[in-house]
Assembly symmetry: D3
Homo-oligomer: 222 residues x 6
């Protein structure tokens, strides 16, 4: 880890990076509002750090018979590709569980690595067994049929004050969900990588007895 690699792969990010350090690198680059304010937590476990690219869907609530239920939802799930994260912008609606076991199983066929739902989900027990990370507001047993539906896919969506563009790099873990805008992606990931290294040195110094004040004065990190 002493020198930064030329190209940092998804698997290298999963091993070394985490949401807080990427957020610090975004801060330093002047992007201070890239973390979702919505109360989403990882309900199913799985990877300690979820890294991938946004596959976006927009949802709406309804209260009438939907003539074509599930249509766009199925299209989105079946078009997932390697390292995609399924993004469901459902505006926090608690009307049904919009993601579940069968969608997980199908999306993984294409290479989907997790789901971020600004809403509620169901089938959390089998999804936990599948070690598929699902960030959501909570659980809801109701089927989405005639309660919620996808109205658009592969467009920019907003969750918790942050825009997720299709293909944006996402880093999510127990501390939060961070979106990296594409035009600073390379610079930010490189800076985060280097900050991880510097933090390790600082932590070791403190663990060896250095005070926080001295460590901050010496390394400039907290």
């Amino acid at each position: 880890m002493s020198s930064t690699p030329q190209i940092i792969t998804f698997n290298q990010m999963r091993e070394s990076l985490y949401a807080a350090v990427v957020s610090d690198a975004l801060d330093a680059a002047g992007y201070r509002s890239q973390s979702c304010a919505a109360p989403l937590t990882n309900l199913t476990g799985g990877a300690s750090v979820l890294v991938g690219r946004a596959k976006t869907t927009l949802w709406e609530d309804l209260d009438h018979e939907d003539p074509e239920p599930y249509k766009l939802e199925l299209k989105a799930v079946d078009s997932c590709q390697a390292d995609d994260i399924f993004i469901a912008a459902a505006h926090g609606s608690n009307r049904s569980g919009v993601w579940g076991e069968l969608l997980t199983t199908a999306s993984r066929n294409g290479g989907c690595v997790g789901a971020i739902v600004d809403g509620f989900v169901r089938d959390t027990a089998p999804m936990s067994q599948m070690k598929f990370p699902v960030f959501a507001r909570g659980t809801n047993v109701y089927d989405s049929l005639h309660r919620q539906r996808v109205t658009a896919i592969d467009i920019p969506v907003e969750i918790g004050g942050v825009t997720f563009n299709p293909g944006d790099l996402i880093i999510a873990d127990a501390d939060g969900i961070v979106v990296v805008p594409q035009k600073v992606e390379e610079e930010v990931i490189r800076a985060a990588w280097e900050k991880v290294h510097a933090e390790n040195i600082t932590r070791d110094a403190i663990r060896d007895g250095m005070s926080a004040t001295d460590a901050y004065n010496k390394y400039g990190i907290l």
Copy 2:
């Protein structure tokens, strides 16, 4: 008011009825969940009791360039008819002000008598001057353009736990918003009319010094 008329017109309802007494009549008919639980208040004044039929629209939030902005919204506004109440089911979204002065002006051309918005509105000052009742969650200065849009019109929608079917009779005042299902409409309005009469007698007796206990024992009303 001593005998109930054969047909009770909208204007008669506006003079004699109010939301609480219609709710009591619905209770007595076994419909105990016909009042919106959403925190909507009349932000613009106007009629003390808003009575009319539901003209429904369904809204969604978005965060991308809408290729056909305002399309269904304009269609809904321009198709309003006499005694319609514009119903905007926007799921409580605080993303923009979805109703305002120009929409009010246009909807009134067709005979629209008020708006009920499960969301936020703007231009409250001119709408107050127009004495057009607008029930909503609050105000938001943002234009709805690329923030919210209508996705369906003239379908059943849900606000605060109650379904508004197109054409349903609505009674709304400072106490709340009540929806009368069409199959019991005639029976419920008649019963409410009669209860208003009985309440007047009870109130007079109490005002003349009768205790609440005695009045309830004698008239069975509280």
Copy 3:
């Protein structure tokens, strides 16, 4: 107003005192938590300052046929005496409107001067016409029948973190609701009376151009 009277009557309090100055006097006496934290507002207007003694009732929600509906509620209303304020501790429940026009009419027969409801009420329009102050969380059109009921009267109750003992002096206005414990009532009301006088002098000095800093240094009041 230059010298404090020996005995300060309810009507004198209504003319000269207000909630904030009584709260300041309670602060000075070491009682720093005597204002309700619950979001209650005066929904019906009436007196600009409501002053009286607590007539307490405790409420519960229910969802079954109540064999003796309204029983204790009627007893409480019919036993109200001069300068009583009806206190309904309903734990903020939005299940029905627990206070309304007929109860207002009946309670006024005994001398009740207002109501403070930690819950919701209905019939706000006629109660406004009666100029009867009702502080509550909001409005709800549902009748309380089989939804909420009184389970005890004339006992200590808690609203928004403050205990209301039967007979406690209450001062409520647009700024909030303050409860004066009986053992410091005389001392606190006297101190509030004197602070009103001192504030008038300070305000006049500032209005004449004195800076806030100079006024505070000179009079010690803000």
Copy 4:
């Protein structure tokens, strides 16, 4: 699991059913509002699916010395029978922890299999060790003495918009809490049982690579 048994026992339900599939069967039977909207979660672990019949209690808050503390609460706990689930309708009050270790121990003597509390509980650590499932809003260290009490037992109660009648069948797991009305109990449990079987076939097909779209077109399940 290939053919549905004549009678489905509680233990068979615990092995094969879960809340979401029972909710889907209720949906299909026209019961679309049988899941609690209150934010209750299983705080103590234990059975992955809690199945039993409702033993109901109604609670109220108080702020005065209770002359007969615990009276009805003890009666309810001591009258629990095999496969009962203790239901505490406390209206979400965060005034104390109304359920705890000693009540758990006592209720299990009669055969109680879990507790659903629309409120807060304490002693979560020992209840976790006892593997006794407790669904609640959260934890509160305060004793219920003089803070909350039971006012009625074995009557219908409401939690999160759903009525729990005494004896109603309850299915609760990580996804939510579902109440099955008695008049459709047999039909709904049978339909849920059959849907579990069909879902297994669909899941296997998707896991073998079938797209979600094809699977839905073929099996009609999502």
Copy 5:
């Protein structure tokens, strides 16, 4: 109003502009997040549109004896100048009423025209009589002494997701509170002025019977 003046004065803004039209002009300039998301309302009436420049203060909660109470608060109030709006960034704290009658009186000596408080205030009745607009979350009777205090003045502060820099132009009315960044101030105010003119034409056309669809197609405004 037919041609835009070279320089638009504060008084001209107060007569012709309002928050929604300024927000639309900011939208068009690419500033789509300049309206406070905090739930602040005008509690005291006064000017229908509040226009001025931000005089900022930062507040914190405390729970200990403050050795220098009111110090920075008095300094800020006494340094207010013509057309200033007092901005109190108190993070929504409901710990006391941080603004009141004496501060209003003193700040007006320097020319302050209103207050925007992300927190709570008291003395609403006399401030209403003074026609001094105060936007806040609500009312709280407690004195700020030893409960809240100013920790910095004349620095950038954040309310409801928007940064208020010292001197920023503020437009606030019943629809919301809009902050105009200084580098686009001239352009945005000019564009708003012109939009008001165009809206008047559109409104008149609709009022004369043109449908909303036709008006939007012709004038491009909604």
Copy 6:
């Protein structure tokens, strides 16, 4: 455990006491409001019961360049002593993560045993591995730099309605956080110790089949 020791050490408290029983002892001593009402949970695991003395810090939000970032925060961390619990009174602000891995490492050098944060934290994964208990509202990935800062240390602070004085004894576990005022500390801890013993006898009796009613009548404990 049959007889109470003369002096009860921190380690003995950690082995035998828990928050609920200490709360009951405080209740009996007339201290009925010593538990935090703020929704803080243990996000990192570690000790099942956290026992120590309050090391207090007061935080404020900011939105400007802080000329001396981290200054008081570092001072507080570096002055932690054996059995201290770091208390961060940040008023529930969700503006950043105010506590994290490096602060944990440094505070442990002095003997700090846990942190209670009325706000949000980050680096939950490494803090969990360190088995360092952190009670907080949730997680937030943002660095506190220029977002939040410490403004005072070693003063009384308030969290969730309870005052934490420097040096106060704290007992925190999954049920809640309890503060023991110093003047009743010895008496309360002794009473809690004895109640644990009595509860064990009661629990054993119930486990052996005694009804809850009989056990309560015999032992007076529930």
